[in-house]
Amino acid sequence: MAEGRDPLRYFRVEARDLVDQISAGVLDLDQRPGPEPVGRLLRAAHTLKGAARVVKQKEIADRAHAFEEILVPHRTGAGALAAEEMQELLRLNDEIAAQVSALQSPQAAAAAPSSAQQPAGQDPAEALNPVPEMPMAARAATADLDELLDAIGEANARMAPLRNGCTTVERLHRSAATLADQLRVGRGAPAATTRASAERLARELGSAGRRFTDAVDQIERELHDVRAKAEGLRLVPAGTIFTALRRAVRDAAESQGKRIRFEAYGADIRMGAHLLGPVSGAFLHVVRNAVVHGIEPEAERLAARKPAEGTVAVEVERRGRWAVFRCADDGRGFDLDALRRTARARGLLGPSARPPDQQELLDLVLHGGISTSPEVTEVAGRGIGMDAVREVATQLHGEVAVRSSPGAGATVELTIPLALLSMTGLNVEAGGTVATLPLDSVRGCVRLSATEAATAATTGRIVYDGGAAPFLPLAEALYTGSTVPDSPSPGAAVMVGTDDGTVAVGVDRLAGTSALVARPLPDLAPSTPVIGSVSVDADGNPRLVLDPQGLAAEVLRGHVGGRPAAPATAAPLPILVVDDSLTTRMLERSILESAGFEVDLAASGEEALELARSRRYGLILSDIDMPGIDGFALVERTRADPELAGVPAILVSSRANAEDRDRGRAAGAAAYVIKGEFDQEELLNHIRRLVVRA
């Protein structure tokens, strides 16, 4: 058994969790003394002591015991802990953490016991790297694992009805065989009895079938749940790096004799552990820099009418497919004069007479390895912090920005792309495709009657929340480059909040919400900005995840009604109308010309090809049924011709069946309009959306 070989297997998991609680608890206690944090710490230390004794980890148990001894007198809340008591707690905490991480795996423990077991408090440099940083971010919380195990157990439990069902099927099989025997022999039981047995058999088979279907449905649901939870395990909450940062701030503050409050936001945002590890390492330098260079000594702060206590805030934020890590302090900001002097001394500024502006100087900090610190202290200096952030940014394909306002503080911001993104999505169905919208961008959903949907489609607007929001059926955005398939008019509008305001997208149906992990589109699959990322559904097939910002741009771009003509819009190229019927040609020409387009006419596919090669058109509007080259062939030929492939084509036909629509789409038509349902406004909307402009 695995347990036999590795008796520490479960202890490691539990102890890591308890050490996390203790590390965070000590810092809580440091900031807010009181019986409540003391009680929590005592419980964690006590649990750890008990567990360590069970697995004969005497060292850990003894330290947990010593930890408890310090806390017990303060259980009733009799005042704050003395400074040396706090020191001792931190020292024990570090030792316990080091010992627990040395248990990581039998090999690791054998390889690195000397450094890990060295008491951390004795060496000032050691205090700078207190708790191991990487493993902390690189694992899933036990609570998540418990949930996953529960879900697996649940799925397993659903197997029982299936197993019973197998026995039932076995029994029914025997009954059927007996019945067949009776029928074959043709004597024995009278016909009425045989019929009764056959009927009973059919009934039982029916109910067994229903039970099977139910059981399979349930298992499918449970497995879906298991899958979602397992996917989530690949991602770790950003909050796991906060304890190490908080401890670094505390230690640096103490060595500098400053009072500093640490604030952290965005602990729940989840991302890949491989991102959090390096970011945590770099941000340890950033927060130390903030404490040492940023926050002024108390007297200076008071003189500048600032609170005596400085603030260092770390914030994690998700912005679309990006994660932003921000460290802001309310200190003196970057010392621009010092920067200028250093830069000049090192010849980094060049002979230019113009003095560098603030941002140029800050960029030097970012790129040049210069520091604002007048001296190199043991906790910060030499611009090492910024180098570390820059390296992480390069490694993770991100960017760093530095902002500073003299006297008010500085901000370092690291933005990195997220390969995997955990989110809750609203699944929507449009034009036969299911796509997902990030739920946090959804402001609301509105049910649309057929009339409302028609009005919305014509006016391109929908009344919402006392205003008129721009509207676009999602299917039109999803089928860029091909024909929108036949689908009922939108049954609902989803209101999406974006930087450009709220926009409405029309969907056929809302298909519930689900937890999902989104990843970027593959490199070789360029798409329109409407698609932000892609996830994998329960069947292993890709599902598109919409980008709210890109969707808004598409809605506003296609949205011409009401607005004065967009200033940047260039004039459309002429439109080529192809139809063998004179009436249709003339009707279409009058519609297009009154909408402000220039129109050329062709009476056959052959003529159209000839014209198309002699002049640049913005769009081809063609009938299907024509003698000679028909509409399908015309579209195919123009698509295969590199010169003409860029001119969108719309097919107009009286053929209303889905098969012809599919054929049109496959041929490469960008839209398919049915003559019988000829709607001038719909046609013009298609044309305005597709036409190539000069």
Binding site: Y479, G481, P522, L524, A525, S527, T528, G540, N541, F632
Partner: protein, 180 residues
């Protein structure tokens, strides 16, 4: 014959026999090449088996809004999301019918090429493969020789060249390290 030589011969025969199972069939000899006879649109072609890493029928493809005509969408392969390109469109003779088969190409990033019919799998002597006369026009740039078969000659699709075309269309430069 001494017992010793018999034992040696038996041992050698056994080793040869075992090895014939242990080694992948395609490296059994260097005198032949393995091909998939396929139909792209309605035209016959051949694909080198060594340039593909899998062939799959009827895999659902999620369509993407895109301006690339040849990009059919993306499909899922064991959790990896793979772009799917229509071979007929890449070779310059698209047809309306949706292709049924996907061939995963060797190399990275992942790429699947879609074609309409899989005729058969065959191993032919390398001497049956001849260099085609390149006149530099049309799809010939994406072909790599011809193979003589009883049911007629087939052009062999140059998968690396086709991949390079896809990279160019997608605006993603072909990284020599990636395609290794």
């Amino acid at each position: 014959m001494t017992g010793r030589t018999v034992a040696e011969r038996v041992a050698r025969l056994r080793t040869d026999f075992d090895r014939s199972f242990a080694e992948p069939a395609r490296v059994l000899d260097h005198e032949s090449v393995e091909l998939l006879a396929i139909r792209v649109g309605d035209r016959p072609y051949a694909l080198c088996l060594s340039q593909t890493s899998g062939v799959h029928p009827d895999r659902p493809v999620t369509a993407l809004p895109t301006t690339l005509r040849a990009l059919l969408g993306v499909a899922g392969f064991a959790g990896t999301i793979v772009p799917v390109y229509d071979l007929a469109a890449l070779l310059g003779h698209p047809i309306a019918q949706r292709p049924r088969w996907l061939a995963l190409t060797a190399g990275t990033p992942p790429l699947a090429l879609a074609f309409h019919e899989l005729d058969h799998h065959l191993r032919v002597p390398v001497t049956d493969v001849v260099d085609s006369v390149t006149d530099g026009s049309g799809p010939r740039g994406y072909l790599d020789g011809m193979v003589r078969l009883p049911d007629g000659n087939r052009s062999i699709i140059d998968v690396p060249a086709t991949r390079a075309l896809v990279h160019q269309l997608a605006g993603h430069p072909l990284d020599p390290e990636e395609s290794r």
